[in-house]
Point group: C2
Chain length 470, copies 2
């Protein structure tokens, strides 16, 4: 769509919402900021339950807690949806060391390390080997088996700091975490350590999923992350002494899949109960912190959407569901299961919104939808202006709702300010105190406002209006 | 200006900047985010110097440090501008207690308290009296001398949580802090305690300036702030027992004015050296924390503007000054002095930008200027879109640059995200760790970009262009 068309559309479509909508949004924001429930829910989820890795006892506690809380809201239905999830357990505290030998003297430097999710263990005695540093798979391939075999590969690609959207910077080097072991194993490496995906210089190692793909068991080498400070230290020491060795020990283990649940609540629509709108986040988290930003925030904001609709006296025309997905972090089983069941039942999902980018000040949404639907959303832009919500762009929505994608549905992702997200992502400092109450509540209100509009106007309003006009 | 005109202006003015400008902004942001200096400067200012109340030793250290750092940048001139400032000293640690007497038993509850800046002391034995709670000056006047005389007035007006711009919420109740003692004294109160101007519930008391205005010395009653948690506790206890007493002790003192300085650096313009653009923040801070957000952030961002211009190879046509103002917090002497000298010298200031709203993610600017100049700025809007800068509105600019106001100058204030600002404002937790490096750096780049555009195009470009077209 070119600029002229955008301007003209904006100009001719001023009245696609009503004054009543302005008042409704105002009431929603006020309720969230002055009488919100999201922060108290997050407090419990983070401080009473804590990290909620799929298959863990805490994940089960989170299922029970959120189901019980949804039941208090007076929704039309609340239920659990069974889903088998992988169970990976970190085991005892990991150890990491840089070992320098010089003139008969051995110096050991402690390193902040954590196993990547899905990794194998090192064995009881740990793993010690020389290190070869690379910043990309291309560099690794250039080195080849000659220089890699028997060594630990150190992936030190850093997130690109001059990208304004930090998720873009994350996307630029998350492959080294996910597939680093897979690629290094091909050249005979015995282990992999990865620079944490963090834009800040600090001492926190950041975990996250990795995968061995089709590698046979005996090629599955242990894989761990080290903090950004330690990555810099290691890189500097390697420049002076490429004979140094690295030692790490981890006792993580993959178990058989276990039964878990998506938690679902619904307000059934008064006019079009067979049209479904979904709002959700993921209930599981990594195990190092409390998963407050990732994705405790998205969970409580999604629950709050249904509470705010009820508290604001809104009676949805369409059926609105909150879905707390299990296992986003290391399997996406919950998202797949929800879509599979929805398809089997022939449920017509017209809109799905995910919050999984942290509980920071909301800036807007990214949409995975048709141009026509984006034009519809553009017309609501000025409704959001008083709340400083300005970002309405095409883009990625969310992992859990991705499996719902078809030609008609509008998929949306809440886009909070992203500057601080990777300071905490998958690390032990992703805790309740890193979440600001107002920022969280503004996100919940922003999500509720969009759900309200999609419920009221449906998803094809503009196309119909244009057809009428033409 | 009505909506149609705005749309048409936006439409016809697409090419009021060049592709070269896009590249320049990109270079500025990249330099700030990958090779910035602002965060290291702030580290020193916060952690090596600390709180910098006017007239203190630390304020003098900050003058010397920032002057020395500006001198390293290779500017055309760096100098100190003398200014006499008030000197108020907090004295030893304050004490506060709620005292409950019931059936011969006395219970004391410790309260987190701090003297307001400019307040008198309580005397060595402290001040103890019954408490009367009000939420506004109107409530106080209704109570009258009968119910107020001999008591401590407790101003418990809370910041309005449903205002999206937290500065608006601050403005709504900052009078109780500044003029609470003045108003209460009229009715014979012996002291004043004020609910901290903080949207969060926590234990930090927040200081800030207060004034006795024309009150005679013997009517100047001590005035202090208590934390939001303690304000709620006190209010709840008062409901049950309005005979409770409050005790506080503070030994603060006002001294004679002392000599201090504004710190100024200049890049002299190549084409129009007699047109001045100013960018600044205030070097003084309150004494409880390190003044990292208020206004260490604005100081280092303003210094960084000149460094980024030089590093980006920009040779300004006009003269660009960084001014680090002294004494914004409790006197505004630096801002007044700078304007006074500028006027006396007949310097033509065309633009001034202040950063004094914290080092958070920048959202845009507010402008105190003519409609025509705002229209000019609107035309640059899309240049800022890649950096998620979207807020360009008329409004308040900044306290220090306010005295420069005349009919022609454009005054601007950087507007960062405001949600967390009052969590830290004037409290002991306004420290370096509360500032995110990227958020600070984005602010510096955003300021530099606007200065670059005003330098390149001047302030009357649009008016001229329109005249040519007409």
């Amino acid at each position: 769509m070119n600029r002229i068309l955008v301007v003209l559309l904006a100009f001719f479509s001023i009245s696609v919402y009503s004054q009543n909508d302005e008042a409704t949004l105002k009431a929603i924001y006020k309720q969230s900021l002055t009488n919100g429930q999201s922060y108290a829910w997050l407090d419990y989820l983070s401080n009473e339950i804590g990290g909620r890795l799929s298959g863990s006892e805490n994940a089960q506690k989170a299922v029970e807690y959120t189901k019980a809380e949804l039941e208090k809201l007076g929704l039309d239905k609340v239920w659990l949806q069974e889903v088998m999830v992988p169970k990976w357990v970190r085991g005892e505290k990991e150890e990491g060391e840089i070992i320098l030998k010089s003139e008969g003297l051995t110096t050991k430097i402690d390193v902040n390390i954590c196993a990547l999710g899905g990794s194998t263990a090192t064995g009881e005695n740990g793993l010690q080997a020389k290190v070869v540093e690379v910043k990309s798979f291309e560099e690794l391939a250039e080195l080849g088996e000659d220089k890699v075999k028997g060594k630990i590969v150190f992936f030190n690609g850093a997130m690109q700091a001059d990208l304004i959207n930090t998720f873009e910077a994350y996307g630029g080097c998350s492959r080294q975490r996910y597939a680093g072991a897979y690629e290094a194993s091909k050249f005979g490496a015995v282990g992999v350590i990865v620079r944490s995906l963090n834009l800040r210089q600090d001492d926190f190692p950041h975990t996250g999923s990795m995968g061995y793909l089709d590698l046979p068991e005996n090629k599955r080498i242990p894989s761990a992350a080290i903090s950004t400070n330690d990555a810099n230290t290691l890189s500097e020491l390697l420049e002076k002494n490429n004979n140094l060795e690295f030692y790490f020990k981890q006792s993580c283990q993959q178990y058989d899949d276990v039964l878990s649940y998506n938690v679902i609540g619904e307000i059934t629509g008064s006019e079009f109960p067979d049209e479904y709108l979904v709002v959700g986040g993921h209930l599981d988290s990594w195990d190092l912190g409390d998963g407050s930003h990732d994705d405790g925030a998205g969970v409580v904001q999604s629950m709050e959407v249904l509470r705010l609709l009820k508290e604001s006296g809104i009676k949805p025309k369409r059926s609105i569901r909150v879905v707390l997905f299990m296992n986003e972090e290391n399997g996406l089983r919950g998202g797949r299961k929800y879509a599979e069941v929805a398809k089997a039942k022939g449920e017509n999902h017209i809109f799905a919104l995910e919050s999984d980018s942290g509980g920071f000040t909301p800036r807007g949404f990214s949409f995975d939808c048709s141009d026509a639907n984006l034009a519809q959303i553009e017309q609501w832009r000025s409704l959001f202006k008083p709340y400083l919500i300005h970002f309405f762009e095409k883009g990625y929505s969310g992992a859990d709702i991705g499996p719902l994608k078809n030609d008609n549905i509008v998929l949306a992702g809440l886009r909070p300010d992203s500057q601080r997200y990777f300071d905490y992502h998958h690390a032990s400092n992703d805790t309740f105190d890193a979440v600001n109450k107002r920022e969280l509540e503004l996100g919940a209100a922003t999500m509720t406002s969009l759900v309200y509009l999609f419920d009221k106007y449906g998803v094809n309003q503009i196309q119909n209006a244009r057809q009428l006009r033409d």
